[in-house]
Symmetry: C2
Subunit: 257 residues, 2 copies
DNA sequence: ACCAATTTGTCCGTATGTATG
DNA sequence: TCATACATACGGACAAATTGG
């Protein structure tokens, strides 16, 4: 039927604001615009793209939300690296909306925490170890304040992940961690032996890192997370209950600047 | 000094478009607006919030980008659940921009893939098994096409994760997977025995699921991922090389609708 | 299949507050 | 302190697309 086969290129049809966002995104992802490079003022973008200011602004909002650009104190635009924390809370929010269960959270957290511990034993620096030790001291001093205690427990596990010096692992464990560790407060409130057991476990984990004893580290992390599960169930919760919407609000506070 | 302690509440100061976005987000996260519920037209939102339409539109762009609302074919606004895929590609892009190394990717992927396999052995349904079997048949038929072959390998691991019936794990492994598996194409091009070894491993993994043999499943998955690493290095790459920007473009194609 | 009403995408002009030099 | 540049927000406008008769 066709006399010739023209093989036209696909016509790109997208709203103007999207094209603006894509164009700037491309420059950043390709590295032609580096982090902290200025993007230019809105008026300049208006001129460069030949679209209206409102259109440029919509495109900018998209990039701000995805964390590729930010505004400094003077609201000038700069490129930046997406913050892990922000990405992780988006992730967490999605998990809550999908109504995942604590079992799913637990199953994932246990492997990621053990992996973080394994690599922390290999790669922890003296600074990492000092930070973890300081965290344990603080934790021991906050046994009368379950909320602060739970916060410090979350920090402990974050420090372990940081000590692994594996950013992918750090990023992968954070969404589950954001939802997982707030329950610590509930557990230590309801289970009397919760706090001392947790502190003892943290000591053993730090010791394992100091001694570069990988097997001991993995073992104690497994016990530690399993302990959380027992406490969670002893506090009267079922692992098959979905993560409640309430938690998301708690967890999402972190992302507010 | 102070005669009275007034204890005023913190004054919330934020741009109008942000308040619009936050207000709608709150309704969705709280569940008062459920997925697929209509959000209303821009004009309605203008009336309800008492702000300008441009302001409403900026707020909408933010929520669209974060995946909480979408527009259907008629561009009407609906609430929706954030898609895993979109979140994962944002994550992957961040990893690329942070210039993480293949070692970090590999260390994380190996624990997540093994965990996915472990739970897949427990929870895979007949449908899951059929889908995996079909994938293997397709893979065997595409040994002459490395690109399609690599794509099917990525699908295989996605199917394993799906068979785990753990959405947190599915979500956690996807960002690393998006960056990890595109390299399969490179490996099977450069290493002659790559394809048959990969296919054999997939067969063993499927067998393990069928026989509900968790130890065999974990063992073969470990071998399989280690095999990738050997192939990667044999193809002349260093694990300590950062994931290149190029890969991101490849991986990001997935998110385009 | 045609038409009227609605809605979105985009644009223009303007006012206001604020940051910077 | 003042002036300038800039971000935020507003009101109004119009064409194209979509909807619902």
């Amino acid at each position: 039927m066709s006399a010739v086969s023209p093989s036209f290129k696909r016509i790109e049809v997208a709203p103007a604001y999207q094209k603006v966002a894509d164009a700037i995104e491309r420059e950043i992802v390709n590295g032609r615009i580096k982090p902290d490079d200025p993007i230019g003022t809105e008026s300049q973008l208006v001129q460069q793209f030949g679209v209206n200011r409102s259109t440029v602004r919509e495109g900018i909002r998209v990039l701000e939300e995805s964390g590729l650009i930010r505004r400094d104190s003077s609201r000038r635009l700069y490129a930046c690296l997406p913050r892990y924390n922000k990405l992780a809370s988006r992730f967490s929010r999605a998990l809550v909306l999908h109504e995942v269960t604590f079992r799913e959270l637990f199953e994932t957290a246990i492997v990621l925490e053990i992996a973080a511990m394994e690599y922390a034993v290999d790669h922890a620096t003296d600074e990492d170890i000092d930070a973890i030790a300081a965290n344990i001291v603080e934790t021991e001093q906050s046994v009368t304040n379950p909320a602060a205690f739970a916060e410090l427990d979350a920090d402990f596990h974050m420090l372990i992940a940081k000590a692994s010096h594996n950013r992918v692992l750090q990023l992968a464990r954070e969404p589950a961690g954001l939802l997982f560790f707030p329950t610590t407060e509930m557990v230590v409130r309801d289970v009397a032996e919760g706090m001392p057991r947790l502190i003892a476990a943290h000591h053993h984990l730090l010791d394992a890192i100091r001694k570069r004893d990988k097997e001991s580290g993995k073992l104690w992390m497994r016990r530690h997370v399993e302990d959380w599960r027992r406490g969670f169930e002893r506090a009267g919760n079922s692992l098959d209950r979905p993560v409640e919407r309430m938690y998301s609000e708690h967890a999402l506070l972190a992302r507010k600047r």
